[in-house]
């Protein structure tokens, strides 16, 4: 069952994330995809996340596909203009990559090439609109026709925790109008806050037009915990969560982080309109089976 079919069926979907290696070897992507294959519906392949150079998202997505798992190819606006982005969609579609996750992308300032030119020719809403136009109208932004047009299932991201809180559901609505069919959120640690955002989303009827996957992270070390609190743009780690993960001995942080993630998944699955979870576990993919077991969620593999 594809991610799209899972979401259409109303089943609880699970996606995760693979961070491609910094090097010219596809092996780590294939191995991680094989590990996750029996646990998740699809896996995101990040696009130079944090503005750090990694193996290309399209190449990683092909390796995921070859390993028998469905990829979600991430596509950011940071490094490519509208010509390259449209070309990438055609290439992805032609090679069987169907799920595309569109995001603006981190600013180059945060990565390993802070001196790079930030492109941002389009923003995420404009890119969604462009890709939908290519698929549904069979034409490029220039108006030239596509033969055949690409096939794609379009995703977006949103961060319910970032200001202005009153506008975040509207912003998702804008992305849905532009073409988003599913959305994966930034880390949810504060489920009460997320619940308030979901109430706004339901008021606008957005959950009926777009599948909402809540982002869940599993902290694997004290270093990762501090990084998450201080360095990840837009992430607000509640003090209670920080204290809980600091209270256990350092060698137990990963286990406690996984337990916390499982609890958060259980709470999220009870919120009306949540279609599934997106596990933000890049670099910590081996934690996925334990988290899903702990949460009592296991993607059914039958009928795949």
């Amino acid at each position: 069952m594809s991610l799209r079919e899972r979401l259409a069926s109303g089943g609880f979907a699970v996606t995760a994330e693979i961070s491609p290696p910094r090097g010219a070897d596809i092996g780590p992507v294939s191995q991680t995809a094989a590990l996750l294959r029996d646990w998740v519906d699809a896996v995101n392949v990040t696009d130079n996340q944090g503005s750090n150079v990694r193996l290309a998202s399209w190449a990683g997505s092909l390796a995921v596909l070859a390993a028998g798992l469905e990829p979600v190819m991430q596509m950011t606006c940071r490094d490519r203009n509208r010509i390259a982005l449209q070309s990438d969609l055609l290439g992805a579609s032609a090679l069987g990559i169907r799920n595309i996750l569109v995001m603006t992308g981190d600013h180059p300032k945060f990565g390993d090439h802070p001196e790079a030119k930030p492109v941002f020719d389009l923003d995420s809403a404009q890119l969604l609109w462009t890709l939908r136009h290519m698929r549904d109208q069979g034409a490029l932004l220039s108006g030239r026709s596509l033969n055949p047009p690409p096939e794609c299932f379009l995703g977006a991201v949103e961060n319910p925790a970032a200001p202005p809180a009153e506008f975040r559901a509207d912003r998702l609505g804008k992305k849905i109008d532009a073409g988003a069919q599913f959305v994966q959120t930034q880390f949810v640690f504060d489920t009460a806050m997320f619940g308030r955002w979901m109430a706004q989303v339901r008021d606008l009827g957005l959950h009926e037009r777009c599948s909402i996957l809540a982002g869940v992270g599993a902290v694997k070390s004290r270093r990762a915990l501090d990084f998450m609190r201080d360095k990840v743009p837009g992430v607000q780690l509640p003090d209670g969560v920080y204290r809980r993960l600091r209270a256990v001995p350092a060698d137990r942080t990963a286990a406690e982080g996984a337990r916390l993630a499982a609890e958060i998944i259980q709470e999220l699955s009870a919120i009306e309109g949540v279609a599934g979870v997106h596990l933000l576990v890049a670099g910590n993919e081996q934690a996925v089976p334990g988290i899903l077991d702990g949460a009592g969620v296991r993607a059914e593999r039958d009928g795949r």
């Binding site: 606006c77 940071r78 509208r82 603006t104 992308g105 981190d106 600013h107 300032k109 930030p118 941002f120 020719d121 389009l122 923003d123 995420s124 809403a125 404009q126 609109w129 462009t130 932004l141 991201v157 949103e158 961060n159 925790a161 970032a162 200001p163 202005p164 009153e166 506008f167 509207d170 912003r171 609505g173 804008k174 109008d177 532009a178 930034q186 743009p233 837009g234 607000q236």
Partner: protein, 168 residues
């Protein structure tokens, strides 16, 4: 310091990468001016005359640059979004988001790239909402035409060339 000199100095500052700018014109006054300056047959006629003149066109564009750089940190993209962004310039966003804000806004409303400055979209929302115009921020801004940098957006606006900039 005269407005013109200040504008020129600001102009020097805003020729680099995009930096969030705090508007110097209050939201209420900006929306009042909007009512006066919206496209009309008179302004259409006037702008056509200015465009046709080899002397008036660059002078007018220069005056617009000085005024809007001073008031809004304008970078002369030539396709002004100010009427529907609470009169906060989105081109000052380091990612030049026309459909912001991004997900990296700090808990205090700060820009992720310049933590000492406020996110232009947070400010846009507050200013638009304060004047009952929060719904403006739901408009989808379409991709801009990069050939139009440096043009007078006022002339473009009065000539009706800005009509495809956003859709509802």
């Amino acid at each position: 310091m005269s407005l013109a000199i200040r504008g020129c100095l600001d102009g020097l500052l805003t020729t680099g990468p995009p930096i969030p700018a705090h508007p110097r014109l209050g939201a209420r006054l900006a929306y009042r001016l909007q009512r006066v300056l919206r496209p009309s047959p008179g302004l259409r006629w006037l702008s056509a005359r200015i465009e046709a003149s080899r002397l008036a066109r660059p002078l007018f564009t220069g005056a617009e640059r000085v005024t809007k750089e001073t008031l809004f940190g304008c970078r002369m993209c030539g396709q002004c979004a100010l009427p529907v962004t609470g009169y906060v310039c989105p081109m000052g966003c380091p990612k030049e988001l026309r459909n912001g804000p991004c997900g990296g806004v700090g808990a205090d409303g700060s820009c992720e790239v310049y933590p000492g400055l406020r996110c232009v979209w947070v400010e846009a929302y507050e200013r638009a909402a304060s004047q009952g115009r929060a719904a403006d921020l739901r408009l989808l801004h379409l991709p801009i035409d990069h050939r139009r940098w440096g043009e007078s957006s006022w002339l473009n606006y009065w000539q009706g060339r800005d009509e495809g900039l956003w859709s509802s």
